[in-house]
Structure formats: structure tokens, C-alpha cells
Symmetry: C2
Subunit: 234 residues, 2 copies
DNA sequence: ACACAGACGAGAGCACCGCTCTTGCTTTGT
DNA sequence: ACAAAGCAAGAGCGGTGCTCTCGTCTGTGT
């Protein structure tokens, strides 16, 4: 009965690994990454602290696994908003995806901090996290791509010293879009997350009160920057 | 009781406090906030670890002091760029201040992470940090204000649901600017630091190669968003 | 069928951390 | 001059990440 790769032992390993990750994620969501302790996880799981090291070689490895999960969770949220908005105007889709990302960030501040805050140790972004990290960006790009297909994208030219870079970016990430929009896409991606990060990390305290309306307005501005006509008719 | 306490005791206290902060800042710059340990600082200062608690009640208080210093250092840099650019075109001044902020961030990544990355413990932003934190924002606003005085600011209207908020923001932070630009100022401030944060934290790895040209282009876009005519003639 | 290599769990232990408490000594203000 | 307050040092508590060793269990090849 070896339907699973190597018997029941391997299955137990998968289950325990998942249990550790689940408990760690719970603690992460409650207290943040700095307070996440292997010993505490082991304790509530009823195992010796040393046993955890059979599953995750170090605390950083556990954290890396959680980082990938967080990226995937956020990416999934963005993709869901993307799908749900098929057929709508490009500006409205843009807003929908941006608001989905913001909503996720506000609902999972510690996870957000884990992936977009300061890198926890010195710094590290193992190559394994890259594909998961890219999903959010691609969801945003998809809105732009669809708008371009529908002829609703206003492409602004790019300065001469960025032309080569824009071409490279476009070839790497958006082969079916005009190269000139590639830098704008990347810039807007970073700016959007800057906006969200400021809100999540409390930088808007006593500065922005009407968060929803403010975000909506700012996101309209970002849409304009990439060449979309914003949903807001104002 | 006496504002300048006569005696060598008070003077020694100031000197030791400064020495602790200096050593802590050195370690922060080298290793980051997570690795900053009171014991290690005490060790290299040749004092018992418990003695440090006479000067900083807790690790977080030391960190808070460093946060204020970092805000001030960054604010000073921005203000210096602002002063150095008096008389230049608004677009050029904008670029100059933005590049000064970016330059500081790239030169002091750990300090940058301390103030704009994820809040180190659970969260914390003692009220004492607020004035220092505001300096950067005001440097940016000054460019906009001067442009407005010179009649070089294009003010875009604000949606109806933001008018009250815009008026409140303007009254609080930019009383001599049209209310409609206030939300744009705040949004652009967050977006600029998002841009810089992504670069500092390595999110642009393998995505943006020509960092300088890219940043310059993005900053031109931000200038446009607040209503400035960018320096780039393209 | 059985023995053996490998995976596994538990415990002890190391070096480090933030922080507190107590004990003396020195400076300060009256 | 003397009491009060500030200060440095040491010991100690509970916590951390991580390693090592030592029994136990298990999956597998002969």
C-alpha cells in the first residue's frame, strides 16, 4: 500500500510539518515574527523543542516557509479579485485588485510585515520565494495587459536613458505590452505597496482619517500613472 | 530641578548616555535592529550589562532613541537638499529632495528599516518620535508650497467624498496650500518611501537594474501627481 | 523472517538574551 | 558633616536558538 511516496512514515512527516507551520502561522498572526519562538511552538504541540529541528533546520527556515505561504495567500487574494472583475472597465478592475491587496494587508498585518517589512535577519530572500512573490505583481499587470488588448491603455513615452531598461523589463515580465509601460508598472507596484505599508504600519496615524476614500483616490492616481483611465469619473 | 545641574555627575551621565547611543548606532548600522543587544553594547563599553539600565530603562527605549536619531538624520538630509536647491525649478528641487532621501536610505539601510520597516517589537511609535518623523514630509511639502507661490502648481480637483478630509489635512499640515493638493502630498510621500523601501529591501533584485534612471523616472511621475511639472523634459 | 540503517523523540546542555534585585560605593545637597 | 540619592557590579531568573547524545521505532533489502 505505498500509494504515497514512501509509506506511512512520510505521511506522518507531512502532517507534522503542516501542524508546525499551522501553529507557527497562528502565533505569527497574533504576535508578529519577532515573537515567534520555536520552543513555544513545540510546547503547544506537545513535543520537545529539539524535535522541531527534524522538520525545520532552523528558525529562519520556518520563517521562510511562512513567507512563501504569505506571498501565496496574498497572490491568491489578488488573483481572485482579478477573476471576479473580468468584464469590468479597466479602471474598476485596477481598483478592485488594489483594494483586495489592501484588504489582505489590513487583515494580516503581521504577515504583511513579514513579506514587505524589513527583512527579518540581516536580510535574505531565498530564490524559492521568488515565484510566490511575483503573483501579486502579475495580477496587477494582467489588468494593464487586458486594458491594452482592449485599446484602453495610454502609453506614455519613456526617457532615452530608460529605453534599454524598459525593453529588458518588458521582455522579462510583460512581453505582450509596449516596453514603455514596463517601468511604470514596476514603479506603481512599489508605490502601491508603499501606500499600503504606511497604513498598516501606522504611519498614517493622525494624518489620514478617511482611509478608504484616501486610498481609493491614491489608487486612481496610480492607475493614471500606468496609463489606465481611472474608475473614478471625477 | 536645575536645568543645568552643576556637577560632574550630570555631565558624566550625558557623556555615558551618548556613548551608549553611539555604540548602539554603530552596531545597528552593521547588523540591524534585531541583532542589537544591550549586553553586547555594555560589553564593548566595559560596563556591566545591568548598568545600562540606569540610562535606558529597556531595550525598546534605546531603540526609540535611535529611531528619533534616524528620523532626524534623514530629515536633516532632506532639508539640506531643499536648501541647496533654492532658486531651481520646482521639478528639479523635487527630484533633488527625493534623491537625497533615497541616497540616505541606501547609505543607511538598517536605520531606514528601523523607521520605515516593520515596527520592531509588536508595534510602537511613541509620541516623541512624531516631530522628528515629520521633517521629511515637510521638506517635500516645502517644494510644493514654493511652487505654488510661484504659480507653478497645477491643482487637480479632489473627489467629493474626500473634500472634507482634504480640508482637514490642509488645515493641519499645509494651511497655505489649496486643500485639493493635501491628499496628493500625503499619497506621494507614502509612495516615494514605498519606492525607496523596495529598493533598500531588495525587492527590485533581478527586476530593476538601472536603479538611478528608474528612480528618476518614477520620481518625475510622483511630481506630476502632486501637480509639479517634472524636471525631465521628455 | 530478520537484521540493519536510517528516521525519530526526548533530554541535557551551551551560549546568549532582556531584565531585576541586592549590595556596596561615590557624589550631591543641606 | 551627614543623610539622601545616584551609580556600578554581580548574581540570578526565565527565556531563546541550536547541538549532541542516547534510546526507540520503522521501513526495507537480503
Amino acid at each position: 500500500m505505498t500509494s504515497t511516496p514512501h509509506g506511512a512514515r512520510a505521511r506522518a512527516r507531512i502532517e507534522i510539518t503542516a501542524a508546525i507551520k499551522e501553529e507557527a502561522r497562528r502565533r505569527l498572526a497574533e504576535q508578529g515574527a519577532a515573537e515567534l519562538s520555536l520552543r513555544a511552538v513545540a510546547r503547544t504541540l506537545g513535543m520537545a523543542s529539539s524535535a522541531i529541528y527534524r522538520y525545520f533546520p532552523s528558525r529562519d527556515d520556518l520563517l521562510t516557509a511562512l513567507i512563501i505561504d504569505a506571498y501565496d495567500s496574498l497572490g491568491e487574494t489578488a488573483e481572485a479579485a482579478l477573476k471576479a472583475s473580468v468584464g469590468a472597465l479597466a479602471g474598476e478592475r485596477w481598483t478592485a485588485v488594489c483594494e483586495a491587496i489592501r484588504g489582505w494587508a489590513l487583515a494580516h498585518p503581521h504577515e504583511y510585515a513579514l513579506i514587505y517589512g524589513s527583512p527579518v535577519p540581516g536580510y535574505a530572500a531565498p530564490a524559492t520565494t521568488v515565484p510566490a512573490a511575483a503573483r501579486v505583481g502579475f495580477a496587477l499587470i494582467d489588468v494593464v495587459r487586458d486594458a491594452h488588448r482592449a485599446g484602453e491603455l495610454d502609453v506614455a513615452p519613456v526617457p532615452a536613458d530608460l529605453e534599454a531598461e524598459a525593453a529588458r523589463m518588458a521582455a522579462d515580465f510583460v512581453p505582450d505590452l509596449p516596453p514603455a509601460v514596463a517601468p511604470a508598472c514596476v514603479a506603481v507596484w512599489a508605490q502601491l505597496l508603499g501606500l499600503i505599508g504606511f497604513e498598516v504600519f501606522g504611519q498614517f496615524t493622525r494624518i489620514v482619517e478617511e482611509r478608504d476614500a484616501f486610498f481609493r483616490h491614491a489608487v486612481d492616481g496610480l492607475a493614471r500613472t500606468v496609463g489606465l483611465r481611472p474608475a473614478d469619473a471625477s
